[in-house]
């Protein structure tokens, strides 16, 4: 049995490594879109005769150390959360081993914590969004994350309750349907937010959103795969150490 301490430490370290990979995507795919959006913002500001905003942090710092720090901090937090979710799932997902369990937890986490909220409230590049509504938009985004987490809790409970009657596979499908219904109802009830002005280039918006998706995808995929691989390795080593005092076969 792996200790909780080792899982948490592993999760946070793996989160840091995943953040480095996510930075590569953010740099090559995301930054060009951010730069394009900022130049649109500046052109607009200049056209209306607005004074340029004082630069507290230079663009160079924002796109290098700033971005990397944000990803590392977020990655470590995500890795920590992941290890807790993994600890609950470990040994409780039928006969799944460490690598498959980690992959299932990472896929579910990505779908619940990221994909579900952004389908309702997609990420926006600079120059999109009214500063006066930031409070409301932030509250709605975090509410959507919270709803997704509650929905997955209800769905898991329902799935586990149904599993003796339906069997593991069908109970899982039933749980997914419960999740989809709860999320669908929330989508319908929560207000829509669209602050993209008509003249913002659709191409920049699309590629910004695709690259933002890519950043989170790489983060979650790397956490799931690295965590699974390392946990599997440490479990195997554990089995070998335990087996050593009783070597199989005698001379």
């Amino acid at each position: 049995m792996p200790t909780m301490r080792s899982l948490l430490v592993r999760g946070m370290l793996v989160g840091l490594a995943a953040a480095l990979l996510a930075y590569v995507v953010a740099w090559f795919a995301g930054e060009p879109q951010v730069a394009a959006a900022i130049s649109i913002e500046e052109t607009k500001a200049a056209a209306t005769g607005e004074a340029a905003e004082p630069e507290l942090v230079s663009r160079t710092v924002q796109e290098t150390i700033g971005l990397l720090t944000a990803l590392l901090v977020y990655g470590a937090a995500l890795g920590g959360f992941f290890s807790i979710a993994y600890a609950f799932a470990h040994g409780r997902l039928g006969a799944l081993g460490a690598r498959a369990t980690a992959l299932v937890v990472a896929s579910a986490g990505f779908a619940v914590v990221y994909v579900t909220p952004i389908l309702k409230y997609p990420p926006n590049p600079p120059a999109v969004g009214n500063p006066d509504t930031i409070g409301r938009r932030t509250a709605l985004y975090f509410t959507m994350i919270l709803i997704a987490l509650l929905a997955v809790a209800v769905a898991t409970y329902a799935g586990r309750a149904l599993s003796p009657r339906l069997g593991g596979w069908n109970a899982t499908l039933a749980g997914i349907v419960v999740y989809a219904v709860l999320v669908g109802v929330s989508y319908a009830l929560l207000p829509r937010v669209n602050e993209v002005s008509g003249d913002f280039p659709a191409d920049t918006l699309w590629w910004f959103r695709v690259s933002a998706f890519g950043v989170q995808f790489v983060l979650w995929a790397a956490i799931g795969l690295l965590f699974g691989g390392l946990t599997e390795r440490s479990l195997r080593r554990h089995v070998r150490t335990e087996a050593r005092p009783h070597p199989a076969g005698t001379a």
Binding site: V34, L56, L67, V73, A76, A77, I84, N124, P126, L235
Partner: protein, 70 residues
């Protein structure tokens, strides 16, 4: 029916008791939420530290991680 001895090549996971996970879960959740708050929302919708330096420093990360920024 003699069962052949199968060498253990793939360890089957043993569950970790919930009671052992809980204290770590609470600790990690508190620390994790504070970290996510600083990356995702500080000096945006709300602020603990005045000014815009934190917001500007994590600006690109906040956009690309999908949080509402400004």
């Amino acid at each position: 029916m003699a069962q052949p001895a199968i060498p253990v090549s793939r360890p089957l996971p043993v569950t970790i008791p919930v009671r052992e996970i809980l204290p770590w879960a609470i600790f990690a959740a508190v620390v994790g939420l504070i970290l996510v708050y600083f990356v995702g929302a500080e000096q945006g919708a709300t602020h603990l530290i005045s000014g815009h330096t934190v917001h500007e420093f994590v600006h690109d990360g906040r956009h690309l991680l999908g949080f509402p920024c400004h």
